[in-house]
Symmetry: C2
Subunit: 213 residues, 2 copies
């Protein structure tokens, strides 16, 4: 990549390419043209070629793309050739749902701990994990080489806890708390604001109804 | 709005404005300038003014914005002045987590049912709901005037079930299944692809590490 700046929009599309290519690969498809990929993904072929050109192009247009090669290359760009160690902060329903989600593991995201402040949850088994008190977080981050913390706690405590997690050494936060985190440069944050997503849906419904009058 | 086309980027920012204004309002703040809102939200003041101009501007610049008025107006644009009736398809961990999430109700998103194919879950209480078999979905959608269906089922069955839900009359799907849905015009879809979000985070980590060398 050599320092070339890739736009957020392109980055946002990479996981979707990866998903479609993985499905094609599982179906035994060996080559695919940008036109066919375009039809499948409902993105223009020129968009696809432009997106891929950010990373050197990935293959000769006339022959189409080699599916397996492209899948692996995009996987590498996404950092999926390396394992990540995650902990979940908050063992409520959402934290447990994420701990139970098998697909993350397939992509190299290994769940290495789950923590809560509620003593009633301590010792509870969630898949192959055991809920531990928050006091154990620092030690676990260090000994289990955790790079990603998943925040599924109320927004009131999220900012303070995120700062602590960063001081313990996590490199990234996957934030489900309904608050924006302001973390030091170099610490990556990806927000999943579920309420925002639901409000967007509500907007689309009411917009469509207004158009119809 | 009178048919004016609002960009997806602006729409995507509305829930965040709504969230910040709600917090200011709860703190008793009556007026705020675009400069102060800009500092708080880490968006430029000109971006804020441009965004608001899509909806008529909301107030005189010199005096700042009336927080309560702006909060309510953005709420109306988001369709939050109307109630929505939701059902959850899939009573696994994620479905239960969403059913338990109180904040949705405060915004007018009322959970009116939860369904699963697994007989072992039938009759289970999830907050004020009882898990029912999928066979009941059609009847419940009609009698409870459901407009939004939340899909928390595996991708293998999601496409087929989404089509059925639309034929039963839902207007919108909040899709957590890891597949893109291709629904008739006028049916709104908002995707929450958790794996995609995690891959984006992985990309950001590896990108930052490559830059540091």
């Amino acid at each position: 990549m050599e320092g070339k700046e890739i736009s957020q929009a392109v980055i946002g599309r990479l996981p979707r390419y990866f998903r479609y290519l993985g499905e094609l690969r599982d179906e035994g498809v060996e080559r695919i043209s940008s036109q066919d990929l375009s039809g499948l993904m409902q993105v223009t072929a020129s968009q696809i070629r432009q997106d891929f050109n950010n990373f050197g192009g990935f293959g000769q247009q006339g022959y189409g793309y080699n599916v397996d090669y492209l899948y692996k290359e995009i996987g590498k760009i996404l950092g999926l050739d390396q394992h990540h160690h995650l902990i979940i902060i908050g063992a409520g329903n959402l934290g447990q749902a994420l701990a139970n989600y098998m697909n993350f593991e397939k992509r190299g995201f290994l769940m290495k701990g789950i923590f809560d402040v509620n003593p009633q949850l301590f010792g509870r088994k969630v898949r192959n994990l055991t809920v531990e008190p928050m006091e154990m977080v620092e030690q676990r981050i260090r000994e289990r080489e955790i790079d990603i913390a998943v925040l599924t706690i109320p927004k009131g405590s999220a900012v303070e806890i995120a700062d602590k997690l960063v001081s313990y050494g996590v490199k990234a936060i996957w934030n489900f708390a309904h608050v924006d985190l302001d973390l030091p440069e170099g610490v990556q944050v990806e927000n999943v604001h579920l309420s925002d997503s639901l409000m967007k849906l509500s907007y689309m419904i009411s917009c469509y109804e207004n158009q119809r009058g």
